[in-house]
């Protein structure tokens, strides 16, 4: 079944390729319709997903025996939410791409291939295929930024590609090193995560390998100070590119940190918690402060990602129930809210061809529906109780407070700053009297645009009011991960840090 989840977008891309050139008007609706198929399958997976710690829907087939590589897929509570998020965001991005008029066929094909590769990353339990998909994601995204981006698209595309490719080069070396080590300790190479978890790395090698993996994932997240590719890529990418970049591609990094760094090198992870926590908190505050002063709306939202992703990293390395659960659910929340904000910025850009905050003002009189959606997504992003952002940030803060109180206190500043940068931006764009003549003629959202935004808004509300629907399925896996860390190190989760249900009833509702 999971193989089909990867194959469906690929087959969809092939179908789109067959559409004759003169029928280009059907490409976007067709691509959107085809991308609903993986969503339906993912919906089924979500529905029958059992709240247990084991990997589910596991598929395994030998790919190349002598190298110990197998096609090995599976889902647990950490990866399943990301798979569902990916399949939700792709149809939405495609439906929102009506403004792309040139080379539509290529655009849809790249987007669907991007979806297949991303799903592959989240489902692969064999590090060879994890790397294959991790790197394969870069190619379609490179084209999406480079062909349909704005003025400095080429610079942004190359910078994006090389930054992340540099990280994955070390990841490749680390993966090879682990397989070779497996061959020397167990007689045959293996790339399966569960096999590599049995390895005895030794103190030096485990630190080096941890660093190689952490660097690759930290570039992807991006963790301060490796974030400089992100504003460029986000700002230059077309709307769909920004949505997918922020919504799912950044999660490749946080997912990798949680899945591989924590399970393969728990001792190093425990030792290095201060370093990663410091970087995460710097990212939270730095991203927020820089976002405040951005004159460009899209760049502002790009920097909020640096801040929000800092929360996820902090939650991951807080090594408590709340922190880990918060990190996983915040992965999803950030995809929904930031995806929604990028869609909104894209919609106003299509109308006004500018993203400068100073160009706007008083828009809520001209476009009340648009302003309403923007305010809703802003609140969700800030973490207003009742909306999804609150659940994630609250869990992360409470979770990290038990193990890293100072960092949690500093991170809480980020929540305040978030309110400043987003509400101030809202004030400048939407309130007051519309002065510029161009702004007076702007049309409000049409039915298609509402259809694109509504699912995200509903999700933000549902996850805000009743996060249990997702947290129940996440919890066994994060608890198992914590058990693994505790069992393989002398680390103990601080006393209240394991009482996950207290946070659940306290927060979110």
């Amino acid at each position: 079944m999971l193989t089909w989840l990867i194959l469906l977008p690929v087959l969809g891309a092939l179908v789109v390729l067959l559409v004759p050139r003169r029928r280009s008007e059907v490409i976007l609706p067709l691509g959107t319709a085809l991308s609903v198929l993986p969503l339906a399958l993912a919906g089924y997976v979500f529905a029958v997903f059992e709240p247990v710690a084991d990997y589910q829907f596991v598929e395994r087939a030998v790919w190349w025996e002598p190298w110990g590589i197998s096609w090995y897929l599976g889902l647990d509570g950490i990866s399943m939410p990301l798979v569902v998020l990916t399949t939700i965001l792709v149809p939405i991005s495609l439906a929102a791409s009506a403004s792309i008029t040139e080379r539509r066929k290529e655009f849809v094909v790249y987007t669907l291939i991007l979806e297949a590769a991303t799903l592959g990353v989240f489902m692969a339990l064999d590090l060879f295929f994890f790397f294959v998909f991790f790197e394969a994601v870069l190619v379609p995204m490179y084209f999406i930024i480079g062909i349909w981006g704005s003025e400095r698209r080429r610079y942004a595309a190359i910078k994006f590609f090389l930054y992340t490719a540099f990280g994955s080069a070390l990841l490749l070396a680390a993966i090879i090193a682990m397989a070779v080590l497996h061959a020397s300790q167990f007689g045959s190479p293996s790339f399966a995560l569960e096999d590599l978890m049995n390895l005895d790395f030794g103190p030096t090698a485990s630190v080096l390998l941890f660093c190689a993996l952490a660097l690759a994932f930290a570039i992807k997240v991006p963790v301060f100070p490796l974030h400089t590719w992100l504003p460029d890529a986000h700002v230059e990418a077309p709307t769909a590119g920004s949505v997918l970049l922020a919504g799912v591609m950044l999660k490749l990094g946080t997912y990798g940190l949680m899945r591989f760094n924590l399970s393969l090198f728990p001792q190093v992870a425990v030792d290095w918690v201060p370093v990663l926590a410091v970087l995460a908190v710097i990212g939270i505050i730095y991203g927020a402060v820089v976002a405040i002063v951005q004159p460009d709306l899209k760049k502002l939202i790009a920097y909020t990602s640096v801040s929000h992703l800092g929360f996820i990293v902090l939650g991951t390395f807080a090594l408590t129930s709340g922190g880990l659960q918060g990190a996983v659910i915040q992965n999803v929340n950030h995809g929904i809210t930031t995806g929604g904000l990028f869609l909104l910025v894209g919609m106003i850009y299509d109308r006004r061809h500018t993203k400068q905050i100073a160009e706007f003002g008083g828009l809520q009189k001209v476009m009340p529906l648009y302003a309403g959606f923007f305010l809703f997504m802003t609140f969700a992003s800030i973490g207003l109780p009742g909306l999804n952002g609150f659940v994630g940030e609250f869990l992360v803060l409470v979770g990290s407070f038990t193990s890293l109180p100072v960092f949690a206190a500093l991170a809480a500043v980020g929540v305040v700053l978030a309110a400043i940068y987003l509400l101030w931006a809202y004030e400048r764009v939407f309130t007051g009297v519309p002065e510029k003549e161009e702004n007076l003629a702007l049309s409000d959202l049409d039915a298609r645009e509402v259809g694109v935004l509504l699912p995200l808004a509903v999700l933000a509300l549902v996850l805000g009011l009743y996060p249990k629907v997702l947290l129940d399925k996440i919890e066994p896996s994060t608890e198992a991960l914590l058990d693994h860390v505790e069992a393989s190190t002398d680390y103990e989760v601080p006393a209240p840090g394991r009482v996950a249900d207290v946070f659940l009833t306290g927060g979110g509702r």
Binding site: W64, F128, V132, R154, A169, L172
Partner: protein, 491 residues
């Protein structure tokens, strides 16, 4: 005493079947020339004749492969041990004939353009294939040299084939002078190895080194160093790569891909066979040197390729980097032979295809191919641009292409052999290499179209389609080819 006994002399067993593929190519080359003189056939017919000859040679290679696998009626060391028939040679021949076939296809338009000299060109391509094929199945240093020279001299002529053009002479002369020098270095190395071990045959050298404790191996090591130096010239590894950009630029575009690819296959076949079957005892002496050559090649090739403004020079420098990547697979002694062959098979097919694009865009006899000519190629020739992009991604080693499996294989071998630092240099160099392939893709996909002409005749479409199949199919399902390469071991 009967008559039969009286005439019996101790002559070597001549097993013509053993070298049937090379014979077909050599005789075929002569036939093409004779037919041309006698009947003046159309150029299309000549090109087809060349293709048929390569196919027949390949069929003989298959026959030999089957015989060898079943172990019936084949002498593995015919011609008094000058030739060796083993899995290594089987795979080498497949790669060489694939390159020759694709090279002929890619040269189809040039055959049409060069008029009466088409037969010469086809004959030279066939001879070059025969020469490098002999090199790959040689079990004797002199035989290796013979094959090397048959192949190289054919290529010298091909490099200067369009005499009307100024830099064709330059390319041919440069290639000839430096190539001859490299061949001389190789012969000198062979002589020193003979002086040190008393053997020219690879098996003999191996047995000598295996059985004797050489107290002062200086002569042997110097000889080995010269052998390696001579062959690294052929495979364009640094620091013996300087000729490649000029020669690739000056030689006619229609055959550059063939020239570059076939010399790489032959050179690597010779190099790996010599290192693995004659000198495995000295692996601790030669592996660090090969590691240094590999590292320097990867870095120099990738970095210098970035600043090139001409696609052919770019491909030449990237070829230096690829030579370095392939050499990382040699570091583990014999362990990495399968991965080296996999890499060679994939890369040389991609190389021929890449130069087929150069021929299509810059014209088969042109000498300049500035990157600007490729601007917006996707709008003028979408098929060509799309397939070329796939091949460039494959050369870059992006996952899901066979280029990634190839790089992964050689890097794994080098890591397992304890050359971690070479692998680190390698993965970093491949990131640099991404940049240069992306640069070409950007030019093709994201720039406004140039008004340079670009034609994609059916023959080039075939080359591109086949190369894309090799790039993608073996990227997702490399098993069959890896399995075949896994049996490509020297006897």
């Amino acid at each position: 005493m009967t008559f039969a006994q009286a005439t019996m002399i101790d002559a070597p067993v001549v097993s013509w079947l053993g070298i049937a593929p090379e014979l077909v190519l050599g005789v075929g080359a002569a036939l093409v020339l004779l037919i041309e003189v006698q009947w003046k056939p159309s150029r299309t017919a000549l090109a087809w004749a060349g293709g048929v000859i390569v196919v027949v040679a390949a069929l003989f290679a298959v026959l030999l492969h089957v015989r060898l696998e079943s172990g019936t009626g084949i002498d593995p060391l015919p011609f008094a041990g000058m030739i060796v028939l083993d899995g290594f040679g089987v795979f080498a021949r497949y790669v060489l004939f694939a390159v020759a076939g694709l090279g002929l296809l890619a040269a189809g338009r040039m055959v049409q353009e060069i008029g009466t000299r088409a037969a010469e060109m086809i004959a030279l391509m066939l001879l070059a294939s025969a020469g490098f094929s002999l090199m790959a199945i040689s079990a004797h240093l002199m035989m290796t040299f013979l094959g090397l020279e048959i192949g190289s001299i054919s290529l010298y002529v091909l490099a200067g084939f369009i005499r009307e053009r100024g830099n064709a002479d330059e390319a041919a002369i440069k290639y000839f002078l430096l190539g001859s020098f490299a061949s001389a270095v190789f012969v000198y190395g062979a002589a020193l190895v003979f002086a040190g071990t008393g053997n020219f045959s690879l098996r003999g050298v191996h047995d000598y080194l295996d059985g004797v404790i050489v107290l002062q191996p200086g002569v042997i090591l110097l000889g080995l160093a010269l052998l390696v130096a001579g062959l690294t010239f052929k495979v364009t590894a640094a620091p013996f790569h300087n000729w490649a950009p000029d020669v690739y630029q000056g030689a006619p575009a229609g055959v550059v891909g063939f020239m570059a690819a076939i010399a790489k296959v032959g050179g690597f076949a010779g190099l790996v066979r010599i290192l693995v079957s004659a000198f495995p005892e000295l692996v601790d002496d030669w592996a660090p040197v090969v590691a240094a050559i590999a590292a320097v090649s990867m870095v120099v090739g990738s970095v210098l390729a970035i600043v090139q403004e001409d696609l052919r020079r770019l491909l030449a420098y990237s070829g230096v980097a690829h030579a370095g990547f392939i050499l990382t697979g040699v570091l583990s002694g014999g362990e990495g032979t399968a991965e080296v062959w996999f890499y060679l098979a994939i890369y040389t097919v991609q190389l021929v295809a890449a130069f087929a694009v150069v021929a299509a865009v810059s014209g088969p006899s042109g000498s300049r191919s500035p990157l600007a000519d490729y601007a917006g190629l996707v709008q003028r020739q979408p098929f060509l641009a799309a397939t070329f992009a796939v091949i460039l991604l494959g050369m870059g080693g992006i996952p899901l292409t066979s280029g990634f499996v190839a790089k992964f294989g050689v890097f794994s071998d080098a890591w397992a052999a304890g050359y971690e630092w070479v692998v680190i240099v390698g993965v970093l160099a491949s990131v640099v290499a991404f940049f240069l392939y992306l640069r070409v893709i950007i030019t093709m996909f994201m720039d406004d179209p140039a008004d340079a002409p670009a034609a994609a005749p059916p023959s080039i479409r075939w080359v591109m389609s086949l190369a894309v199949i090799v790039t993608l199919l073996f990227g997702v399902f490399p098993g069959p080819l890896l399995d075949l390469a896994g049996r490509a071991l020297p006897l």
